[in-house]
């Protein structure tokens, strides 16, 4: 069955919520689809609704936005995956049981991002996980994923997570910051103007770290994880300016959980499926759709906002959402896209912050050189670096060719974990750029869905 809607928004994080609200306020008929139990995305991640407790300020803000959207007439379709996107702006939805199709006149993609996978010896051991996984468990379920945490990564979110862990009674053995942030941050001080909320969150996390005497080691990174059945210790090292470990500086540090917070990778699968032209922009997290000032991609009527179009954080996602929501509504005949001039200064402010963030916290190439020949690059199909090297010897020189030879990237995650890792390795070995080597083309279903769900005809 195919339903019609004027505007379909995919993803109910800050970007999608603001886009849906702006479009509905302009008078458009809007459906907002999200695959989580609770709309809100990552930044507004809500505590499980069966739990009782005082929500954080972020959670209150997200809940209020959701209520506003509902009041404005947005139809919320929760706990539903968008597993495919086809010509004529048709989206395939699955709620775990049945598939339905939604045809829209405009689509706004706000699918967010996921933590950047980093391959190093031992990274598949149980106990190595992403910082987002550790944080989501705390926010949503009040569960600690381990006892003794090592945080390895880059950026201020690591401080926030360390503080949350400490407050919850976990031990944090160290926070490793790969970037030599000081004193470079001073060159960007201007971008911190008007970011008081962020600064105060950063300061309060910092004070919590100090109070709990958690070491914050700047210019350090993870090199390996070791353990029999799970993580027992990590090897860490001082990094040079390109994030390459400095030989001789290694230290062992005991821990049972390693949280990797090396930034995010944009979730651009749906914009690719819809034919939007992509660009390779490492400073924005990787491959992202090109957009105009209205947040429209090269596919007419397909907009992309927030982290799925370039990592920029929740505040930028909100502004981009407002602009796209109003522009898409105007496109289908409601209102006049007046959010664009109205939000110009907020957009400029958040773009400044985004540039500072990228300048300070984009990982150096050394991060992609930690893997050894016996390190797994593709977790799903268990393809090692040596197997990828072998494929190169056979003449492959793109990520897609390596996939055909090795099966690397053919697993359930469709290469979302390994494509960056394999592409960087090929680029290094062949002397080509990551952009030339390319990412993997997605194909529906982008999430495995019950076989019965495929049988439903359009």
């Amino acid at each position: 069955m195919t339903e019609q809607v004027e505007i379909a928004v995919v993803g109910a994080g800050p970007g999608g919520l603001c886009a849906a609200l702006a479009a509905a306020q302009a008078g458009a008929q809007v459906a907002l689809i999200d695959n989580n139990r609770h709309p809100g995305g990552q930044y507004y991640r809500q505590t499980a609704r069966e739990f009782r407790g005082a929500p954080s300020s972020h959670q209150r803000e997200g809940a209020a936005l959701l209520q506003q959207a509902i009041a404005a007439g947005v139809r919320i379709i929760a706990e539903t995956n968008v597993w495919g996107a086809f010509d004529d702006k048709v989206l395939a939805l699955n709620d775990g049981a049945a598939t339905t199709y939604l045809q829209a006149r405009a689509i706004i993609l706000a699918t967010g991002a996921y933590d950047r996978p980093v391959a190093f010896p031992g990274w598949t051991l149980p106990g190595v996980m992403t910082a987002g996984a550790v944080q989501t468990l705390i926010k949503e379920q009040r569960i600690l994923a381990g006892k003794r945490f090592l945080l390895a990564g880059t950026g201020p979110l690591q401080l926030v997570l360390a503080a949350e862990l400490a407050r919850a009674g976990a031990q944090v053995v160290a926070v490793l910051e790969g970037s030599r942030v000081f004193p470079r941050v001073l060159q960007h001080a201007g971008a911190l103007w008007n970011q008081w909320e962020r600064l105060s969150e950063g300061l309060s996390s910092w004070l919590t770290l100090a109070r709990h005497r958690i070491p914050y080691r700047v210019g350090w990174g993870i090199v390996a994880a070791e353990g029999a059945a799970q993580v027992e210790q990590a090897t860490i090292a001082r990094l040079d300016g390109n994030w390459r470990p400095i030989r001789g500086s290694e230290e062992k540090i005991a821990c049972d959980t390693i949280a990797l917070g090396y930034g995010f990778v944009p979730f651009n699968t749906l914009s690719r499926l819809l034919g939007a032209r992509q660009e390779w922009r490492p400073e924005l997290g990787g491959e992202v759709p090109a957009r105009d000032a209205q947040m429209q991609t090269s596919a007419p009527g397909v907009y992309a906002v927030g982290d799925c179009a370039g990592i920029g954080g929740a505040a930028l996602a909100r502004v981009e959402g407002q602009i796209a929501g109003s522009a898409a509504a105007a496109q289908v005949g409601h209102g006049t896209a007046d959010a664009i001039p109205a939000r110009a200064s907020a957009l400029a402010r958040e773009r400044r912050f985004q540039r500072m963030y990228a300048a300070l916290f984009t990982p150096g190439v050394g991060l992609y050189e930690l893997s050894q020949d016996d390190t797994i690059l593709c977790r799903c199909e268990e393809i090692t670096q040596a197997e990828v090297r072998h494929a190169l010897a056979l003449g492959a020189d793109t990520t897609n060719e390596v996939k055909l030879i090795t099966r690397g990237g053919m697993g359930d995650c469709q290469g979302r974990m390994c494509a960056h890792l394999i592409a960087h390795f090929i680029a290094r070995e062949t002397g080509r750029s990551v952009a030339q080597v390319g990412m993997l083309p997605p194909r529906p279903p982008i999430f495995p869905i019950p076989i019965t769900a495929l049988g439903v005809t359009r």
């Binding site: 005082a54 468990l137 009040r142 059945a229 697993g411 359930d412």
Partner: protein
């Protein structure tokens, strides 16, 4: 690998029991299968084709490391799936 204690400001959902590989595992409504497994101290519940243990990696449904079989349906992501009273979870399955 523990639940943060309830406090006057915060309480979990109602207690339930799920069956994991035939044995009862206490959990609370609102938790995911992965949350309940981790809270019980279990870090790994999947084995890859090559016998490597895996558990939760991404935590948000992207990596597919955490797959379990739930009430007979295979390839269910434990990190996204909420527990329910009497739910039957099988681990250790290798994907064919």
């Amino acid at each position: 690998m523990s639940r943060i204690k309830d406090s006057p400001e915060f309480q979990r959902g109602a207690p339930v029991t799920i069956i994991v590989d035939g044995a009862p595992l206490p959990a609370f409504v609102g938790e995911t299968i992965a949350g309940a497994l981790l809270a019980s101290g279990r870090r790994a519940w999947q084995h890859t084709r090559h016998g490597q243990p895996r558990g939760m990696f991404c935590g948000i449904g992207v990596c597919f490391d955490c797959l379990v079989t739930v009430n007979g349906a295979s390839k269910v992501r434990a990190c996204l799936t909420p527990v329910a009273e009497g739910m039957i979870v099988q681990t250790q399955e290798t994907t064919p």
